[in-house]
């Protein structure tokens, strides 16, 4: 029983740091985006032709506003209800998508900081919620562990 609780604490500790890993991953992606994805090979004319003309940067800006507002409300609602935090991977994918769209429409340089700040805010809040939620669960398990220790003594 004691070992089970200890194993659960370890699992929870791993989960509580998942938000920070995601933040680190986003920072790496942002570093690549800051250099306009120079580390990646540029797309050939055929691929550009296949993808077609990208959306207007104005439209992407508005989509980013709508996404940022909805994502913040969602994360804050999760926090307010103390619900189990969702994985931050969809947010990472959305933010990567925005970098991609800006890159394809040649407007990444102008809009890099907007996406970066939105990403840091959303993923920062998400990882804070993940850390907080699992930290509380770890505390509960530690209390159980302490009770078990008392019973053993």
């Amino acid at each position: 029983m004691r070992k089970q609780v200890q194993a659960k604490i370890k699992r929870l500790e791993l989960r509580s740091s998942s938000g920070l890993w995601l933040l680190a991953l986003f920072t790496l992606l942002s570093m690549a985006a800051f250099r306009d994805f120079a580390i990646l090979p540029s797309l050939s004319e055929e691929v550009h032709a296949f993808l077609g003309k990208g959306p207007n940067p104005y439209m992407i800006n508005w989509a980013l506003v709508v996404y940022a507002f909805s994502a913040l409300i969602m994360v804050l609602t999760q926090m307010a209800g103390n619900k189990k935090p969702a994985s931050g991977l969809p947010h990472f994918a959305y933010l990567g998508g925005f970098y991609g769209f800006y890159h394809l429409t040649y407007s990444l340089e102008e809009n890099f900081w907007a996406v970066f700040v939105v990403g840091l805010t959303i993923l920062g809040l998400q990882s804070y919620h993940i850390w907080n939620y699992y930290h509380e669960q770890i505390q509960e398990q530690k209390e159980i562990l302490a009770e078990l220790d008392k019973l053993v003594d």
């Binding site: 980013l64 940022a68 913040l72 809009n111 805010t121 920062g124 804070y128």
Partner: protein, 303 residues
Amino acid sequence: MFDNLIARAIVPVTIAVTGFVIFGCLLLYSFIKSDMTAEAVRHVDDLVVTVYKSTHYAMMEDDRDSLRNILANVDTLDGVERVRIYDPQGTPKFSDFEQEPVGKTFAPEVDRWSTSLMKDGHPERESTQYKVDHDNGFIAVTMPILNEPQCSTAACHFHADSKPVLGFLSIGLSSANLEKTLALLRSRMIAFSVMVLFLTVGGVTALLRVNLFLPILRLTYNVEQAATGTAEADLPESDHKLGKLNRDFRTLVRQRDQAWQDLKALEPAGRESDDRPDESRTGGAPAGHQSVAETGSGQDQEA
């Protein structure tokens, strides 16, 4: 640090408000910048059309002196650093050569960009092109001089009917005023964001502190006092912000005091001095007999 109740409540608010305000300002600045740039380009475009229409008659009449004079006059306009008319091969024919700008100038940048558009086979060769360079501080326009029916039939000089473009008019204007306005806008937005951040985070913190944290701190202090044996009557007065929670806590302490008094009344007088059950549990303080003066008021404690 994050175990603290205040930190837990304020950190998410701070992250969300700070992030969204900065993001909003960045995006707003980007929108305003592109709107202002579009307006500046429209203004430059009007100037180019005016120059084109002014030179049209001189070109039709092959009046080179008038053409040179018009370009020289346009060149004296504030902010204009380059006015040139090129032939179809991209060689300058009429230009502000005589008043070649001195010092730091963007004219070579404008020339480089303009001539790159004039190359044979360039897809945009037959349409007006614009370039806004915020780094070098200029707005440039290159307009093709298209072959009109009057040109190919003019008696003074002949252009083949098959040549769609007879030359190019290129103008480069300084965007210093635009950059100055954008810089002013940027600094104002930064000041505004900092103010909004301070007011929002400070306001939320103050409201939470007054309406939630301080009442909780007072209740926590009262619970500590009650746990060490202070009677309900001796506990500091609470505000009523926590409502039922505070009332129920005081009722519990009152019931405990009553139970002790009843227990005391039941005990034989001789055993009272050496058999006090509550002392061992409350760390030795006599139950219900500790005054506020001994324990402090609790107003200045933090969570």
